[in-house]
C-alpha cells in the first residue's frame, strides 16, 4: 500500500543525510533501488578492472532474467499468502511446482495434448493443490506453516510416485524450449538485448494481473485488511475465510505457471523440480521478505518483490562471473542468507526507530 508516513515519528526533522537514512530504512523500494544501482556500479568496476570471467553486459543481464521468472513468480505467490496474515506462509510451492509439472509433462509428453489444453490442465492442477491448502488454513483454521509442511510432503510424494521417480523428457517436451529462450523484440529489438520469451509469456502477465488485483483491486483491499487485522476485517464485513482461501488458491495457480516455465526451460518434467536441494520455497520466501513483505501480514508491495527479484538474480549473475567453478553458486547462498538476515534485522530496526516500513 502506498502509505507514506507523514510526520509522526522521531527523526523526521533534521538534515539531508538523516532524511536519506530514514528513507533507506523505512522505504524498502528506495533501499532496493539503491542496492541495485550499487550492484551494477560495483560489477562494472570489477569488469573494467578485469576481475570478471566474462563481461557483466546488458545481454548477459537480460539473459539472466530467465532465472527471475520462476523465482519472482513464486516470491509473488508468497507475497499474497504472507500478506493474508494469521501466520500465512506457503512451504509447499516447490512440491506444487513438481506435481503440476509432472501433470503438464504427462499431458504434453505422453498423452500428446496440444500445448494450450495441457497448460490449462497444469493451471487447474495448481489451483486444486492450492485450494487444498486454502481449505485447511482458511476454512478449518489450521496453522499455515504446518499445513503447508504437510502438503509439501504429500505433493512431493505424489510427484515422485507418479512416474516412478523418473523425469518425462519426450521429444514433444523438448520442443517447448522456445517458451523460455531469448527472443529479439519486434520493431526496436535490434537496439536492445534479447530478453527471454518466458518474461513476456509468464512473468509480465502475472505481475500486471497481480498488481491490478492486489494493489489496485477490491480483492487486494480485502487481502490487506484481513492481513492487518483479522477481527476488524470480520467486523467490517470482509468475507475473511473466502479471501484467505483465495490467497492460497492464487499461490497454487502461480505454481502451475512456474511448472510450465520449469518444464520448458529444462526440456524435461522432473518429479523433484521444485524440491531438489533446498527447494524453491526458501528462496521465494527470502525474496518476498527482502522485497518488504512483513511476516506478520498486511504489509508488502508487488513492486518491492519484483525489484527484489531482479536484485537477487543480477546479484547471483554477478557472483557467477566473479568466481570460478562451483564457488559461484556457493557464494550465492551467502548472498541470499546474508541479505535476508540484513533485511530482517533492518525491518526490526525500522519498526523500533521509525514505527514501520512501507
Amino acid at each position: 500500500m502506498s502509505t507514506t508516513r507523514t510526520g509522526q515519528a522521531p527523526g523526521r526533522a533534521g538534515s539531508v543525510p538523516a532524511r536519506l537514512l530514514r528513507a533507506l530504512v523505512t522505504q524498502r523500494l528506495v533501499l532496493l533501488v539503491v542496492l541495485l544501482a550499487g550492484l551494477i556500479v560495483v560489477m562494472k568496476l570489477l569488469e573494467n578492472g578485469g576481475y570478471l570471467l566474462a563481461p557483466y553486459s546488458s545481454d548477459y543481464l537480460a539473459a539472466a532474467l530467465i532465472d527471475a521468472v520462476p523465482l519472482g513468480l513464486l516470491a509473488l505467490a508468497e507475497l499474497v499468502v504472507i500478506v493474508s496474515g494469521r501466520g500465512g506462509i506457503d512451504l509447499s510451492v516447490g512440491s506444487m511446482v513438481s506435481l503440476t509439472g509432472m501433470t503438464f509433462g504427462f499431458a504434453v509428453g505422453q498423452w500428446g495434448w496440444p500445448l494450450l489444453p495441457a497448460a490449462l490442465l497444469a493451471l487447474l492442477a495448481g489451483g486444486l493443490l492450492g485450494a487444498v491448502n486454502g481449505f485447511f488454513v482458511a476454512a478449518l483454521g489450521f496453522p499455515p506453516l504446518i499445513t503447508t509442511l504437510a502438503t509439501y510432503y504429500a505433493y512431493s510424494s505424489l510427484a515422485l510416485v507418479s512416474n516412478g521417480s523418473a523425469p518425462i523428457s519426450t521429444p514433444r517436451i523438448q520442443e517447448l524450449t522456445w517458451l523460455t529462450q531469448p527472443v529479439e523484440l519486434p520493431l526496436f529489438g535490434r537496439y536492445v538485448p534479447d530478453f527471454p520469451m518466458g518474461l513476456f509469456l509468464f512473468a509480465l502477465p502475472v505481475i500486471v494481473l497481480l498488481w491490478l488485483n492486489v494493489t489496485r483491486g477490491t480483492y487486494g483491499r480485502q487481502l490487506y485488511a484481513i492481513g492487518t487485522n483479522d477481527t476488524a476485517g470480520r467486523y467490517a464485513g470482509v468475507p475473511v475465510a473466502w479471501v484467505r482461501f483465495r490467497a492460497y488458491l492464487v499461490s497454487g495457480l502461480i505454481c502451475g505457471l512456474v511448472a510450465i516455465v520449469n518444464v520448458s526451460q529444462f526440456a524435461s518434467a522432473r518429479p523433484d523440480a521444485g524440491t531438489a536441494g533446498n527447494g524453491m520455497a526458501l528462496p521465494a520466501i527470502t525474496i518476498a521478505v527482502l522485497g518488504g513483505v512483513a511476516i506478520t501480514g498486511g504489509i508488502g508491495r508487488v513492486v518491492g518483490v519484483v525489484v527484489a527479484t531482479v536484485l537477487v538474480v543480477w546479484l547471483n549473475a554477478g557472483i557467477l562471473l566473479s568466481f570460478e567453478g562451483s564457488e559461484g553458486s556457493q557464494y550465492q547462498l551467502l548472498a541470499l542468507g546474508g541479505v535476508l538476515v540484513f533485511a530482517a534485522v533492518l525491518n526490526g530496526f525500522a519498526t523500533r526507530r521509525y514505527g514501520g516500513t512501507s
Binding site: L91, Y152, A154
Partner: protein, 335 residues
C-alpha cells in the same frame, strides 16, 4: 460450564505427581498407532521383527529424534529453527574432515561436533534475541549461510574415505550392542534427561510459560532472553551429536547430508503433539513422532512399496496431528 466443576479428572501433565500425568493423550494415541503398525507389519512380512530391521529403524530415527529434542524446546517456547538441516551439514563436514585429515580421536571429534553445533545454535539465538526478529526469518537466513559455510569446507568435493573413528555411534556392527544402536540409546538417554528437565525444573516450566504468553512470562520474572538463547544452543549441541551419528562408521560423506532434515524434524515434533503456537509439547511425544515416521518409512520399504510414498503418509500424519490440536484448542475456548 459452571464455576465449580467437581468432577475428578486425571491431570494431563507431569507436575501433578500422579502417574497418570506422565503421559499425554496424544502420546498414548501415538503409542497405539505405532504398536498397531508394528503388529500389521509383523503379520504382513517375515522380516519386520528381525533384529536387523528394527535395529536399522532405530538407527535411522536417532538423528531426527536427537535434533527433535531441541526443536521441541524451541517450538514449545514459541520459536522455530529451520536451519538445523544446514547446521548438520556444517558440523558433519567439519568433523568428517577432522577425523580423516587430522586423525582426530573419538573424544576430540565428539567435542568438536558439540562445540561447533553449539556455536551455530548460539548464532541463531543471539540474532533472534538481539535482532528481535521472528525466528523463522532469521533461521531461513542462517539456513543459507550455514549451507554456504558447509559447501566452502566441502570445497566442491565429497569427503571420501572417512575412517571409522565414530563407528561406536554408527549404524554398523561396532555401533550396536545386541543389535541395539548406541545412537538410539544415546538419544533415549538425552530425551529422558530433557523430558525430566522440561517437566521438573523451574527453567523447563518457564519454557512453556514463554510459549504461552511471552510478555506475561517476562513480567513473572522469567529471564526470557537467556532461556531463548539457551534453547537454540541446546538444539545446536544436539545437532552436533546427530552429526556424529550420521558420520558413524565413516566412508563417504556427500554434500547433500542434512539437506531437508529440518522438515523431518519439525514433522516429528508436530506429530508428537507439540503446538506450533508454543506453550505445549513434550519430548516423549517427539521421540514417538520420529519413531512413527521411521516406522512408516521402514514399513514402506519392506512392503516393497515405492519409497517416496513415505512422504505422503508423513503429510497425512501431520495434518491429523494438527487437526486434533486445532480441535482441542477450539473445545477449550468454548469451555
Amino acid at each position: 460450564m459452571t464455576a465449580l466443576d467437581e468432577r475428578p479428572r486425571t491431570p494431563r501433565r507431569g507436575p501433578t505427581g500422579a502417574l497418570g500425568g506422565r503421559i499425554t493423550g496424544q502420546e498414548l494415541v501415538l503409542i497405539g498407532v505405532i504398536a498397531g503398525l508394528w503388529l500389521v507389519l509383523g503379520l504382513a512380512t517375515d522380516t519386520f521383527f528381525q533384529a536387523g530391521t528394527l535395529g536399522n529403524l532405530a538407527y535411522v530415527v536417532a538423528p531426527i529424534a536427537l535434533v527433535g529434542i531441541g526443536m521441541t524446546v524451541v517450538i514449545a517456547s514459541g520459536g522455530i529453527d529451520v536451519s538445523v538441516g544446514s547446521a548438520v551439514t556444517v558440523v558433519t563436514v567439519i568433523v568428517a574432515k577432522l577425523v580423516r585429515d587430522q586423525g582426530a580421536s573419538f573424544a576430540v571429534a565428539l567435542l568438536v561436533a558439540v562445540g561447533a553445533g553449539a556455536l551455530l545454535g548460539l548464532t541463531n539465538g543471539l540474532l533472534i534475541s538481539l535482532g528481535r526478529v521472528h525466528a523463522i526469518i532469521i533461521t531461513f537466513g542462517t539456513l543459507n549461510l550455514f549451507r554456504f559455510i558447509a559447501l566452502r569446507i566441502f570445497d566442491s568435493e565429497q569427503v571420501a574415505g572417512v575412517p571409522g573413528t565414530l563407528a561406536f555411534l554408527g549404524g554398523g556392527g561396532a555401533g550396536r550392542t545386541w543389535n541395539v544402536p548406541h545412537a538410539f540409546l544415546l538419544m533415549l538417554l538425552l530425551a529422558a534427561i530433557t523430558w525430566w528437565f522440561m517437566r521438573n525444573t523451574p527453567s523447563g516450566r518457564h519454557y512453556y510459560a514463554m510459549g504461552g504468553d511471552r510478555a506475561a512470562a517476562r513480567l513473572a520474572g522469567v529471564n526470557v532472553r537467556r532461556q531463548e538463547i539457551l534453547a537454540y544452543v541446546l538444539t545446536g549441541v544436539l545437532v552436533g551429536l546427530a552429526s556424529t551419528v550420521i558420520i558413524g562408521g565413516g566412508g563417504l560423506i556427500g554434500q547433500n547430508v542434512g539437506v531437508g532434515m529440518e522438515l523431518q524434524v519439525i514433522a516429528a515434533v508436530v506429530i508428537g503433539g507439540t503446538s506450533i503456537m508454543g506453550g505445549r509439547g513434550t519430548v516423549l511425544g517427539t521421540v514417538l513422532g520420529a519413531l512413527l515416521v521411521g516406522t512408516v518409512s521402514s514399513g514402506v520399504t519392506i512392503l516393497h512399496w515405492p519409497s517416496q510414498l513415505t512422504s505422503l503418509f508423513v503429510g497425512v500424519f501431520i495434518l491429523v496431528a494438527v487437526g486434533t490440536d486445532v480441535l482441542r484448542e477450539r473445545a477449550r475456548r468454548r469451555a
